[in-house]
Amino acid sequence: MTSRILVVDDDTALAEMIGIVLRTEGFEALFCADGAQAVDEWRASRPDLVLLDLMLPGMDGIEICTRIRAESGVPVIMLTARSDTADVVRGLEVGADDYIVKPFNPKELVARIRTRLRPAPQAETEVLRVGDLTIDVDAHEVRRGTAPIALTPLEFQLLVALASKPQQVFSREMLLEQVWGYHYKADTRLVNVHVQRLRAKVELDPDNPRIVMTVRGVGYRAGSVS
């Protein structure tokens, strides 16, 4: 089954070129050039992944990402001309999974898309426990007691990565490689922002985390089972 990717970019030449690259790699590309119509387009087509330009006419990428996240955990990759601005952090904070800085090469784009579309890694056990949470890996479900907690695929992957090796401390670089598929030094803000988002959803008190613990100077580890 081919994955369907919604490309939201007002530059039609770039959108078309991305479309060519995606089709060459066996994806199906859908386009939207107007920010104001992007959310409707997304609702109508229900793609497997969204490539979202940050600067759009009508409605900016941050707002679109916020609205999509309100309804779905679909992978969102931002396209941005600036990596150093607050826009990137804001995009990550409203739930974008990853970002690519223009100009990018096709291999990089495809690698980022494939990482986000690949199925979650198989854990050795089907059910993981961390803190007072139960993670059903196969069912892609996290529960506190009987109440399910809705996580995006990325957040789920992050939690599973930590929970599957509860004794291990993960550095940000390790998580970048395991969850985001970066094999070189990348932006550790990705990890920081998504750990915060994950904590906001799974922790009873995000200021005093029990599920995703910070190991000062090293990284993160899963909280002990309670």
Binding site: D11, A13, L14, M17, I18, I20, V21, T24, A81, R82, D84, K102, P103, F104, N105, P106, K107, L109, K185, G217
Partner: protein
């Protein structure tokens, strides 16, 4: 005005006279007000001193004159009263009568002379009867009054004329007081002529004089002090605005463009204030204009860079797509695709560097600091660049006697600087080995990249950090830097509050040293890795012998061992491929 009066004053107080004179001479040099007050003080002191002395002298002579006149008057009255007595009482020349008359005359004399110091001598005898020899008053004793011959002569010469002379008068307490003695002849008709001397002391006059002098000096000193205080205060009204102007200029020079001088009235100081403020206004508006212009330019560069990115992304994607399928094309088109692909990449690098430079210009760069071991980072970079070095037949060697302990830095930027420096060294190193040295001291860590290639003239070396500058425009580019790499590297070094310095000599090679302080507020000073080689390579190698790779390597080992007593983990015959020290070994040795 002395900028540091409190400490200066304290040291002066405790430092003795030399410190005092130092303080005074320092104040003299640095304080207009002090100088002007001191000059005023000295001039008025001199004037008042002279005036006081003159007044004192005049008063003294006046007092003396009046006292003298009084003494002469008294003496004359007394002598004439005694003369009258003698004239009237003369009745016979028998001894008893003469003695009685003489005694009466003496009493009159004592009563009217207003002095107890009276003495008489027989000067000339008349007749041949009884002649009293002389007399002296009760308090008189012979050693109390000395009559000089001169006075005696003057008294005896002219009858009925007074003569006087100043003499010291011994007092009962043994001291001497100033006095005058008045002499006159007293004629005892039929008996003889007597010289009568009456002495008057000037104690009263002296006391008056002393009092007047005291008053004069007190008034003089008070006047001097008053003038000093007044001139100090008056000068303050002049010097305070000058000091304020100086301070304001300093603040303006330090960059506070908002400061202005307060302007009061219409005088010279007000006009100084007005011109100063006009100057400040002009400077401020020009700087503002320049800043706005530069801001517009920076924004323009940044915007252009960003606007170029979207079409460049499309071009890059297209070029990659075409390049990936170039096997399907004929050779000419395939080569064209390849060229397109590489040049798009170069264009992209250039754009990225331009954008980075525009960020530095806009001051919008922030460090992402992380505790990083510079030695390990350098080792990673050397390993990463070894294939590139091998492609240029160049040997990369890492010497790291120190620099293992983590120091706060932005590893991404330091890595970029090192990549740039090593890349440059490979490009210009002429295949000679490249030595990367990492070391640290208490204040800083540093990494040096030394090549033994073409080198540059010192005047060229000054320009290596200039944007788009190339030492030799005809020199071919093999690695394809953008011409911005070293400018960015220098910007990175400055962001770390460190330094990036270059040493280069034509035909000998080039050395770049990046020094990063252990904490931002530490001055790096000389730095742990020396910039210039201790001894020129040419001096060490026999010049007739060509500098071979072997020779240089031996040489460097020699120099290295001579410099550092602690054993380096590499030996002279170490295999070039394993020339870098194992970090673990070195850490053990250095700890």
């Amino acid at each position: 005005m002395a900028a540091n009066p409190p400490t200066r004053a304290v040291t002066a107080l405790w430092g003795g006279p030399s410190a005092w004179s130092d303080t005074i001479s320092a104040s003299w040099r640095s304080s207009m007000r002090f100088r002007a007050t001191a000059i005023t003080l000295m001039a008025t002191s001199l004037a008042i001193f002279v005036i006081c002395v003159v007044i004192a002298l005049v008063i003294r002579s006046d007092l003396f004159e009046s006292r003298k006149d009084e003494a002469l008057h008294n003496a004359r009255a007394a002598v004439s009263a005694a003369q009258k007595q003698l004239d009237s009482g003369q009745t016979g020349d028998d001894r008893a009568t003469i003695a009685a008359v003489w005694g009466e005359a003496q009493r009159v004399l004592g009563r009217t002379a207003s002095s107890s110091r009276i003495v008489g001598f027989i000067s000339e005898t008349q007749g041949d009867g009884y002649t009293p020899t002389g007399f002296r008053s009760l308090e008189y004793s012979s050693n109390q009054m000395t009559i000089s011959d001169e006075l005696h002569t003057r008294v005896t010469q002219v009858r009925n004329r007074q003569a006087w002379q100043s003499i010291p008068l011994p007092q009962s307490d043994g001291s001497e007081a100033a006095g005058i003695v008045v002499g006159q002849l007293l004629e005892f008709r039929g008996v003889g002529t007597y010289e009568v001397y009456i002495a008057y002391d000037l104690i009263d006059a002296d006391e008056t004089l002393l009092f007047v002098q005291r008053t004069l000096w007190f008034a003089g000193i008070t006047l001097v002090a008053l003038i000093a205080a007044i001139s100090w205060l008056v000068l303050r009204s002049v010097s305070a605005p000058i000091i304020e102007a100086a301070e304001t200029s300093e603040r303006l020079a330090a960059g506070d463009l908002e400061v202005r001088l307060p302007v009061h009235g219409e005088d010279e100081l007000a006009s100084l204030g007005r011109s100063f403020n006009a100057m400040a206004d002009s400077i401020q508006s020009q700087i503002k204009e320049l800043a706005e212009l530069s801001l517009v330019q920076q924004r323009f560069v940044s915007d252009v860079s960003h606007e170029l990115r979207t079409p460049l992304t499309t071009i890059r994607l297209a070029a990659e797509m075409i390049n990936d399928t170039r096997e399907d094309f004929d050779p000419v088109t395939a080569r064209t695709a390849e060229l397109l692909h590489t040049q798009v990449q170069r264009f992209e690098t250039l754009l990225a560097d331009l954008l980075e430079i525009s960020r530095y210009d806009a001051g919008s760069v922030q460090l992402e600091v992380e505790a990083t071991s510079l030695a390990q980072l350098a080792e990673e970079m050397v390993d990463q660049l070894r294939p590139l070095a091998a492609a240029h037949d160049t040997e990369l060697r890492l010497v790291a006697p120190g620099g293992y302990s983590p120091v706060d830095m932005d590893p991404r930027r330091v890595r970029r600087v090192l990549r740039n420096l090593i890349g440059n060294a490979i490009e210009h190193g002429e295949g000679e080995p490249i030595i990367v040295t990492v070391d640290s001291d208490q204040r800083a860590v540093a990494v040096g990249v030394r090549d033994f290639g073409l080198g540059m003239r010192p005047e060229d070396a000054e320009h290596v950090f200039d944007r788009f500058w190339r030492a030799d425009p005809s020199r071919k580019r093999t690695i394809g830097g953008t011409g911005l790499g070293l400018s960015i590297a220098l910007g990175d070094a400055k962001l770390h509050r460190g330094t990036l310095e270059v040493w280069s000599e034509l035909g000998i090679g080039t050395n770049f040293v990046l020094t990063i302080p252990r904490s931002p507020d530490v001055e790096v000073g000389r730095g742990p890795v020396p910039l210039e080689p201790e001894e020129s390579v040419v001096d060490l190698v026999d010049v007739t012998e060509p500098i071979t790779l072997r020779g240089v390597r031996d040489l460097i080992d020699d120099v290295g061992h001579a410099d550092r007593e602690e054993a380096e983990p590499e030996s002279a015959d170490a295999d070039a491929e394993h020339a870098k020290p194992g970090p673990d070994d070195t850490r053990e040795q250095s700890s």
